[in-house]
Symmetry: D2
Subunit: 372 residues, 4 copies
């Protein structure tokens, strides 16, 4: 596990925030597909800090280079290595960490785990680590789109105490989402969210938020019971993103407060096939996609790095006051939107390969169909 | 993936609800440990339906047999195969399924996936599948207890709209939990929960609930960034359990509504080592255990099988009314308590092996310590 | 790894020679295929000791039971658990082992590894462990036969110093092989081999041998460069069989003595497609099947358990004379024939799934073909 | 599998011969170890073609860059990405391939597998692919040396029909091996081998050879029965190297011609512990290291690219004469020496982690020792 996600479409990421570069190796991409840097750069740019008031001002150009796996813009079927060079590293900004572990950061357990701690920032616990995921996810997303017409769109549905009303998951696009500076497609909620973030920023504080995600046109049958269930892989993928604290599919935690008669999704016939009349299930039943939109929500904690002084303890146990001067986002959920999309794409494509091989082999072996 | 969980301590489960038996093969159990059926049977009995009004009346004796991996009650280090024979199977009870897919059950996507559907019940989507997990989890739990003194206790913290106040995670035991018929250690809340379940049952309906879980004495340093983070593995493990719709670690979704200054856990020195003054992090920072209690919550949807008639569509697309006469629990969360404990134990032990090998090899290689 | 082989078609084996039973769990078998015990029992019987002079007289009935994964004789797509109960265990026969590690047996390193040693025989190092492989291999073999018409036939091609001339790999069948008491399809060589084995047996000694194997009708394109090459997986599979010391594909070690001009296989057109005029490559180029028969050879050492007294050292380091009275085969290669077939089938089917999913996904993604 | 080897110390390689670069990502390297490019460059230089008459004249500078996983020359415990940029690529040299598949090359099955073929050379089937292995193997080798004092030395023991007499595996060093232009430490045999290669070269032909390898100071107990046996992993590792056709451990194929009484290795007490009086087993019993030197042999076929014209068929099936003008080694075994060492190191270290975690966890769980 560790740095590799997936069994069929496998993504291995590498890179620290302040080393030579960040990247990923994709193993299992189908051959014969057009792919160049432009297919990837767009999502990297969405992850990159912009110029608005809501994100860090660290300038990261983050140009991706395809090191292998393509020739003349066509995938070969061999591993695709992607590299983004680091630049503008200012380890000194993080030097304060040397005095003590930053509260709610990974400094403490990482030093316990590895026996040492980089003086130059968060290393693999940095949000910058997600660059490799976004690059690989862009490739996965292209395969899903070409092969099944799948569209994955994530957006900010809640920030601090501002909730956006339910968005129309059938029509939402990334373009619509990006019209909002905080990636909330509801204009009224977006304005309130921006105000909440600016208020927190003025207080040298940070806020948490929720990212919702919809995956349209996922065929029925994806998900490998019992430990490779669609729900389980998505949860795994999302909880591996920095700062994520929770995951819920479809009705999620609200389902725990409902009765079965109110929660069950009845079936109806539509266009010659069975559909769910409602989709509280979030597009997955028994851990297998049902053919309905797969939708879920991911909870992000407030950025732990804040400008306000914090009373805590130093490495030596003595009391200390920590004041961060490093650049940071007041709300990580906004830049996390393409990360959520990337991890969803990687998880879905991995399951797609599993199901495709089952169908193909069973078909060749002359399988029986129906109820037995 | 599919039927195997874990990379170092690997559990492979097998078995349908109405076949010859259910079981698991554990690969990677340490040798030289005392282990016999009695170590496993206790948790199986906790998962088994009892005689109270709140659980199904299907009588499952569920005796486990150790087929391999031990000799004279000592583990050999080889795979431990565990088998529970099925008995009292009544496939006829489920025959109604043949008319159409049961709403919010796995029938529909499973037939899409595999091309066929067992007439004899839910197969691998049945709650009975969790027997193999509980058996394997009992072994994992014993290793964790012997090697690190880890105690894992889960309990019902919410049913329908009844929430139990926060329990004292430091002192809670399985015995205390089992004093309540619905496994809620708070007596007042327990009484209300029982009433809620009975009301639902009287209405031929079902209710959802939340299971909380605390893992005490987990050492700092467990969790393998970035894709084997502790949070990610726990989420994966929990979302693989039937009927689970959500997972949150520590403050979870509530963190999304907080500011950093209120959410951060400061460090304090205690007994010569750094501790977290609060534990909103749920015992994990950056995906690695911090040495504090690992705690999380798991949302279960209401049992989809209900006695009330449901309007839905048959396999042929025509409208039909489904009335279930099968035995079922009105609230699956209660019996899920040992399942949550089992999956937590399996996930934790897998990460323990990874960290132990790192420590051992790095130690032999003469690693440097400290800040670099 | 350890007890699981394969990534797509995964076989997990369990069981010691003197515990309750031996078995396997198959994960990833295609659904909708007819399968019952009779499909498996035949190969188990071929592995079982017979009544002739060349094999051990231990009577093993070895009846397999399918515990899960089928219903009404049809595979469900869920894990297939297979169990063979042990019987006629006589641990006392092996008690002599307690005095010291048997030369060229696993006793010594197993005790070093696990810290303990079963008094009741070789445990997982026993040849009986291969029962689980043969059972799972029979299922894999059926899938390969149904889906691609693949036939896998192994035979004894050498015993001690007797070599059989090259057999016709295009027409050899298991029935033809079994006509020989030592599974050598060449009658003259077979007679000499039987004499060699009987001479060794009369001397209370044992002999080594070589098993050859041909896999016909393997499509071109199987094998996953660079670490899942067909050659690599077959080598892995074969060297995991007890008593195997060597593996060679096609021309094998002889290739090291040849020049390129003599070794290269030219291409010729035949029936509208490219074929290899010769097949020194053993059906694999660059680790990927070429469409020609995959053939290889596996070297077995002489059975280490012999009736002759051996001077060795006891656990305490003191000199001792070891005299074995346990039942044993004078030549393990004969009973290994179905084991080699089983492991070949498992390895091939695993690679088949990988290639089928690539083809399917690339096809859906609209791949380009040809030279780029 | 595919591009990743290992479960605990995982190496993922990437890169084609004529793309931007070749490299590897190492996941699981212990933290706190000194590591810089100089630790890796030495083995890369040994793999690189030199100036002598026996190797290709393609100039490959092959400078490695560490992209991640270290800081200030110390490993962090995070993934170590290694990159070697390609230079001096001359795809035109390979353009002849477009006319038809080169005999005994991977062109044909690769096009069948991926549906397309790079016009620019062998891609992942090129010997250049091994650069990533050698780089990663150098890191693995350093860990093995620091942690256990393990030394891995490979050498050429046979070329065409010239065999070197047995070398003293206890004292052989890489320096001694490199004194010979064909890496055969026996001066007389070396001279004959050089003559054989030059004769083949003069004939525009190529020759095969055998590489032997000794791994000294491997502790007893490494190897994970039954599918992660030491023998199986080594065989897998070796057969994944381009041009390898066979593998044998210890006595290997010769064992198949011996009797048990002559083949068994007796135990003797030495320096207070049990040792094998002879080591025909090659340092592995039952798939687990015995504490003796692990030694094995790897057969390489003659380079398929030869200067002589070859009669074969083109992609269209028509007869064609292929004449190669590309640069190539007349004997790949010489440059394969560091590749064999690299793959041996990677396989051994992976097994080391597995055993270390077993020992650590079993020790904490208070395991019982001895005979049971």
């Amino acid at each position: 596990m560790s740095s590799t996600f997936g069994e069929h479409f496998r993504v291995t990421t590498f890179g620290e925030s302040h080393g030579a570069g960040i990247g990923a190796v994709i193993d299992g991409c189908p051959p014969g597909m057009e792919l160049d840097e432009a297919d990837i750069q767009g999502q990297l740019d969405r992850r990159r800090p912009g110029t608005g008031p809501l994100v860090t001002t660290r300038s990261e150009s983050d140009r991706v280079e395809i090191l292998s796996g393509t020739e003349n813009g066509i995938t070969l079927g061999s591993p695709i290595a992607l590299l983004v060079r680091n630049a503008d590293a200012k380890p000194a900004d993080y030097a304060a960490a040397a005095g003590g572990p930053r509260p709610s950061h990974a400094d403490f357990p990482y030093r316990e785990k590895y026996g040492l701690l980089s003086a130059g920032g968060g290393g693999r616990s940095s949000a910058r680590e997600t660059l490799g995921r976004v690059a690989a996810g862009a490739v996965a997303g292209k395969v899903l789109r070409l092969a099944w017409g799948i569209e994955i769109v994530a957006w900010v549905s809640s920030i601090e105490n501002v909730d956006a009303p339910g968005s129309d998951m059938d029509t939402l696009t990334r373009e619509l989402v990006d019209r909002s500076p905080c990636r909330c497609p509801d204009p009224a909620a977006s304005a309130l969210m921006v105000a909440a973030i600016e208020a927190a920023k003025a207080d040298k504080d940070s806020v948490g938020g929720i990212v919702s995600c919809a995956c349209r046109c996922v065929p029925a049958g994806w998900g490998e019971p019992v430990f490779g269930k669609l729900d389980a892989l998505l949860a795994h993928a999302m909880l591996s993103i920095p700062a994520v604290r929770g995951f819920e599919l479809g009705s999620g935690f609200a389902a725990s407060r409902m009765r079965g008669s109110a929660h069950n999704d009845a079936f109806v016939a539509q266009d010659g096939r069975l559909r769910a009349a409602t989709n509280r299930a979030g597009g997955s039943l028994g851990g297998v996609s049902s053919g309905e939109t797969v939708w879920f929500r991911v909870a992000f904690k407030p950025t732990p790095t804040i400008g306000r002084p914090q009373e805590t303890a130093g490495w030596d146990g003595g009391p200390m006051t920590l004041e961060s001067r490093g650049r940071h986002d007041p709300c990580v959920a906004i830049r996390a939107v393409p990360v959520v999309e990337a991890m969803a794409a990687i998880a879905l494509l991995d399951l797609a390969f599993a199901q495709e091989s089952r169908l193909a082999v069973a078909g060749r072996a002359g399988r029986r169909h129906g109820l037995i």
